[in-house]
Amino acid sequence: MSEANRPVQVDIMRSQLGRARGLGAAKSGAAQWWAQRVTAIALIPLSLWFVCAALRLVGASHAEMLAWIGAPIPVVLFIALVLANFYHLALGLQVVIEDYVHGESARLATLLVTKGVVFLLALTCLISILKLGL
């Protein structure tokens, strides 16, 4: 191989991580990814607890429901469930919207509306639980 045809080789004495660190997404871009995993882990026991609770409340009257949610542990677990659930939902819907809604303004509008609705639903659930449990 002649000197002119040899491929250019440049040694960069820096790791890819070192190059990416501090540049935009590499700084905090994994935060949402992590939050989705952390809420997912929390939701495993919480949703299984909720299924058991729902089974206990099959056909329950209003008085039975009040008696159940009046105890401290169901209130705490229910609030934890609502927080983890709606956070996880907002993150999941965001990924779906970012994948399928094209166009900057349409995507932004869909994200804002979706996140607003999810936030309001979460607040409504929390206030209801507090009203029932306190």
Binding site: R37, A40, I41, L43, I44, S47, L48, V51, A54, L55, R56, V58, G59, A60, S61, H62, A63, M65, L66, I69, N85, F86, L89, G92, L93, V96, V118, L121, T124, C125, I127, S128, I129, K131, L132
Partner: protein, 143 residues
């Protein structure tokens, strides 16, 4: 052409016409695989569970409002449509939960062999069905 990447998709048909090559996987002609079907169902069930939170919210608001409002929700849940929705959400919950655990195993670097993700895929489907039926048997016995 709006994007420079489109240049890579320009091709000529056998009669010399310029065409834009289709993206792969081209869903209309692409045979569904276990992996892709399970993957898209993870999204479907996730979004479906999101709609399920509407019922949860209604249930909680009604309980916090009055015994009559709560009886209305309980009546809806016990109606054929309510039971069908609840059955769907039970399956969606267990499916999303089981496949979520599968995703976490991937995040940790396990289960990427072809035989492994095929096996765990069927395990997710089976476990979701078994758990759904189990919960409904218990629920109907209590009811």
């Amino acid at each position: 052409m709006k994007d420079v990447r489109d240049a890579l998709m320009v091709a000529r048909t056998s009669d010399g016409r310029l065409v834009r090559r289709p993206l792969s996987p081209h869903l209309q002609v692409y045979r569904p695989q276990l992996t892709s079907v399970i993957s898209i169902f993870h999204r479907f069930t996730g979004v479906g569970l999101g709609f399920g939170t509407l019922l949860l919210t209604w249930w909680l608001v009604a309980a916090a409002t009055s015994p009559e409002a709560f009886a209305t929700v309980q009546g809806f849940i016990g109606s054929p449509i309510g039971l069908l929705l609840l059955f769907g959400w039970t399956f969606a919950l267990f499916y999303h939960l089981c496949n979520g655990v599968r995703h976490m195993a991937w995040d940790l670097g396990y289960g990427f062999e072809k035989t492994e993700y095929h096996r765990t895929g069927w395990t997710v489907v089976g476990a979701a069905c078994v758990l759904t039926v189990l919960v409904w048997i218990i629920g109907l016995v209590i009811w």
